[in-house]
Amino acid sequence: MKESAVDLYKSLLEGDRRAAARLITMVENGDPESREVLRQLHRYSGKAHIIGLTGSPGSGKSTLARGLASHYRQEGLSVGIIAVDPTSAFTGGALLGDRIRMQELSADPGVFIRSMGSRGALGGLAVATNGVINILDAFGKDVIMVETVGAGQVEIEVVKFTHTCLVITMPGGGDEIQAIKAGILEIGDIFVVNKSDREGAPRTAADLEMMLETKPGYDGAAWKPPIISTVALEGEGVVELAAAINSHRQFLEESGKLEEKTIQRMKAEVREILSQKVGRAAEEALTSEGPGEELLRRMAAREIDPHTAADEIAGYLFKGTRD
């Protein structure tokens, strides 16, 4: 570990916010030094309660995150917020606007907010987000909220491995419920009908309840995801939501599911890291100096098929690791 990384790591443990910010950047950029830092930080993390917030754009995730953060601050807890917004697949740029909804938190040193572009290279988001969670965890944040746009498998992967996953919806058209159907019904521990002062809110809540009841395994599930109505802009329902999150945490602790979730998260983390490693090794094997070059020529000449070639490359990659 280079001098600068050691310094940052020490400063982080001493509570230096800029060191935390710098380390997060290193993790986001996939800086090799960040891996060493994360290795060191691992033993300091594991204390925070991690909350995922997902839901379609405009459903009020940032405003709810702000409301929850204010609530937790009043309880004397420190808060970290990771707000993920999409990166353009065409330019690689991103406009990250979640802070606009969190202005009143910016003067509070007990809240650390970081905006992240989804970047989207090779499932990197999940790895980077986990890294950022670990940094904020080791930094001593009691509650960490991860906010993502509820679209795309990678982002679902991100919230799946939080302790409590909030799925946020709002009244207005069947589209909201349609959007929820696409895979995130299964991952929600708590469902929120935000903007519930709008017309159609009871209907949205009822639709949600029906969908949850018909969810496979719902009857036997020990945790029944509650549906909480909120008006985040006015702060209505935030106390109830925080209480539901608290109940879920208690349920996780008492049922032994907390450990299970932690193991799951570790598994997801190590799997992502592994698949990145293997992916990179495979790319290297296919470059002009790698053993793939010869195989590619033979494939082009129709002497060998891609499956056989892949087997040979896999054999080359994993030689000595098996048997």
Binding site: R18, L95, R119
Partner: protein, 133 residues
């Protein structure tokens, strides 16, 4: 290792006009940068804290209220206090030419981009100054 230039767009003071800075933001985004916007009516303290948490390379400020002589020195002072003078500070909006000179010479603003600036010039300036950290 992929690094991106990170930028915070800031609206210090009380004017409510962010059309201009958002156009700049779109141009920077389209040039592949990660652009954070924290909204209107920010104090210098808010902006410097946000710039540090977001670990930005560039802080782009827009002021149309005429309060730049009060707000900019404070922003720069806070950046110095927090040992964050490596952050490139750009200023836009309605800044009289004489004041623009003062901002750069006396307070450490890197450059002032006035009305009518081609956004490509801003992109080029940032890329040149922060392209390889």
């Amino acid at each position: 290792m992929e690094r991106k230039i990170r930028v915070l767009l800031g609206k210090p003071g009380l004017d409510g006009h962010d059309r201009g800075i958002l156009i700049v933001g779109h141009a920077l985004r389209d040039a592949g940068m990660e652009v954070v916007y924290s909204g209107l009516k920010q104090t210098p303290e808010d902006l410097v804290e946000a710039a540090l948490q977001e670990d930005v390379d560039v802080l782009v400020l827009s002021i149309l209220s005429g309060a730049h002589l009060a707000l900019i020195p404070r922003v720069m002072e806070l950046l110095r206090e927090r040992e964050a003078t490596d952050i490139l500070v750009l200023l836009g909006g309605v800044i009289p030419p004489d004041d623009a000179g003062v901002m750069v010479r006396e307070h450490g603003v890197a450059k002032v981009f006035g009305p009518g600036t081609d956004t490509r010039d801003i992109v080029a300036y940032i890329s040149e100054r922060k392209g390889s950290r």
